[in-house]
Amino acid sequence: MKLEFGKIKIENIEFSENTSIKNRTLFINNEELCKCLKEDKNISEVEVKLARPGESVRIIPIIHIVEPRVKISGESNIFSGILGGVNTVGEGITNVLDGCAVMTSAKDIIHSTEGLVDMSGPGAKYSIFSKLNNVVILVNPINKLDKYQYEKSVRNAGLKTAEYLGKAATKIEPDEREVFEYDSIINAVHKYPDLPRVVYVNMLISQRQIDNTIYGVDTKEILPTIISPTEVIDGAIVGGLTTVPCHRNTTYHQLNNPIILELLRRHGSDLCFLGVILTNELLTLAGKERASLHVSQIAKMIGAQGAIITEEGAGGPDTDLMLNCKNLEKSGIKTVLIKDEICGQDGASQGFADFTKEADAIISTGNLNELLNLPPMDHVIGSLEAVEKLAGGSHGCLHEDGSITVETAIIMGCLSELGFERITTLLK
């Protein structure tokens, strides 16, 4: 499989009469975009707001984040199985609006797991999204809409916006091209017989109605499966709405999955990348045991010698993570785990809800309870009052001047267990 990313740098976003890209600025026809989103009969009102890096803007509550893209060649649309029919992704050419993201928000929170992004100030150094040009879609549902329908409509509004904006990049010459090649496992091993054989186990949280999907299939319904790394970074996974913002893998995260990108780039130099195992995180112990056994079974079958395992969420999913570690290590496959920690506001509590002695190699992406004082911003997109109800916020955390005292958990993606950011913990 050969996938080419045509990266079109976006350094500014503006409203305009035509949706187009000129000189690294994305121009958006607001009216046309809103009309397109209101084709969903569950949506009564849509508002589009723009937030650029360095602006005094706080976006809250954020439900989901996507990167605008367009398939230039290949059979599929960008979110196969969700926005249209099912076709294999991970091949051909995909143009990417690099430096731009679509965020979906609503006037009222749907779940307390929605997050926050500051475009400047001390909060901005925590999240990659503070460095992007963000198109924020504020959705209002029709009266008395079922909560799950509402969630689905909100998420899809983001996906549709990404598709709509992506189309502007169809005929643009990319600023940079990067080609990823993924050969069959047997060929890869023949080609690099002396390199360590590595598999990546990508755990997808699956505990709610609107969960991670793979080609449109809800991850609650899957057995662990093997997939080409190029498929993951080309839209096979659409993120769910489960778990608190700091460690929720949005669709944006999976499209830019840093483990996959780096393993593909290092394939053939210091390692041999065998592929990605997608697995879930179910609520039942039997489900956790079944999935972890199946993960190690697949890893053994393909001849893996080492595995990177990334968790999504924390608490209950710690059991899935530790079972995956234990069963892979029992099969003779060396593991490294990536996860964040729950150490309390004082940083003194132990960080995990579960553990296994085989977990001797862990990358920590930070303590989600650490308190932050974030100063007021000149503009709020969404609703600042929501902060008191969100995970990471608390009653009284919103001060009169608009500043907030919150746990790190509230910032979208900042402790991503895909190892997206540079944050870690230091034991003092």
């Binding site: 505990q207 109605q209 309390g344 003194a348 132990q350 303590n367 190892g419 944050i423 913990t425």
Partner: protein
């Protein structure tokens, strides 16, 4: 522009303060201008960037026996000085001297918000009491390590006073304080993970970024001899609270639990109760809170005489990304309250 010269105080016991030995251990605190004893050596290593303007001296017994009042006396004594930091000790393995050093460091840091540092042998009993609040540099057991610790103490306080960031205990030589802070590594987590995996696969050494947690093993209580006479309570971490969450229990990392009366209540109705939890899909719980906390079923057991009585209150918290230390505290507190109220058994429901 010349650099600011810091003014520091130094704390020592009666021995290092050259007042006397064990016979003078009852010496009340005094303050003398300039450096004395180890302070003279400390000052050399400030390399002209700081000076010790005065030395506080107190007997080991006097301090250890009246920690609170002695600290207050010393606070009054230092009142007339303007200073930027304090070095105490080093105390090596001396327990009483360690308590003096630790107490005065902790107090001055808390009251005056100034940087402080001391140094002790890791097994000095005072280490456990003060390591969390005070930087305690590691020394050997005896005074023979004086020569090596003095320059470190001087340089450490200069760095603290200059607002420099202090790195890990291993790199900096202080005794681990037992808490974690978020910092930015040079590389993102993904790169660190792949590098660590390749090292592990080659059998090379690597350092894991998370310490091994310790979990308690709980022995289950003995079964009831007569369940039909037992008082049973309901406790949940599923966040079932009266509608509107009157006690504002947080949706994640809850820092409290609450108790609510269910006297005379047969069932939870969805108009009056809901879940405050952010960690699971609460739609079904909100439709019927009994499915998280089975009030309806337990009332039926009570009517049928299967259990003796349902306790008049239930306890609720949110068990979502809750720290182990908070969860343990809730467990002890709820358990103690229930025991005092004569409850024999508990149905705990989680989500």
């Amino acid at each position: 522009m010349s650099e600011k010269k810091f003014k520091f105080l130094h704390y020592v016991n009666q021995f290092y303060g050259q007042i006397g030995g064990e016979d003078k251990a009852g010496q009340h605190p005094v303050i003398k201008p300039g450096p004395i004893g180890p302070g003279i050596a400390l000052e050399k290593f400030f390399e002209g960037r700081a000076e010790i303007i005065a030395t506080i001296i107190c007997g080991d017994n006097y301090f250890a026996e009246n920690q609170e009042s002695t600290a207050k006396e010393i606070l009054t004594l230092v009142n007339k000085y303007k200073f930027d930091g304090l070095i105490a000790g080093p105390a090596f393995s001396s327990g009483r001297y360690g308590i003096g050093c630790g107490t005065i460091c902790a107090k001055l840091r808390e009251k005056l918000k100034i940087p402080v540092v001391t140094a002790m042998f890791p097994e000095n009993p005072a280490v456990e009491l003060f390591k969390k609040d005070v930087f305690i540099l590691k020394t050997g057991a005896s005074v023979s390590s004086m020569r090596s610790i003095i320059p470190n103490l001087s340089k450490f306080l200069i760095r603290l006073a200059g607002g420099e960031k202090i790195g890990s205990p291993d790199d900096e030589g202080y005794i681990p304080q037992g808490y974690k802070v978020n910092v930015w590594d040079k590389e993102r987590g993904a790169t660190r993970a792949i590098n660590m995996l390749l090292k592990k696969m080659k059998g090379e050494s690597f350092i894991t970024e998370a310490s091994v947690p310790k979990f308690d093993s709980i022995v289950p209580a003995a079964p009831f001899s007569k369940l039909s006479e037992a008082v049973i309570a309901l406790v949940t971490s599923g966040g079932i609270v009266p509608k509107g969450n009157p006690d504002h229990i947080r949706a994640s990392n809850a820092d409290k639990f609450a108790k609510y009366s269910i006297a005379g209540l047969d069932t939870f109705v969805s108009d009056e109760y809901e879940s405050a939890h952010a960690g699971y899909d609460v739609v079904y719980a909100n439709n019927d809170p009994n499915r998280v906390l089975p009030l309806d079923a337990v009332r039926q057991f009570e009517r049928e005489g299967i259990i003796g009585k349902l306790f008049d209150y239930y306890y609720a918290t949110v068990g979502n990304l809750t720290t182990v230390s908070n969860a343990m505290q809730f467990g002890y507190d709820i358990g103690n309250e229930l025991k005092k109220s004569g409850v024999d058994g508990v149905i705990l429901t989680s989500t």
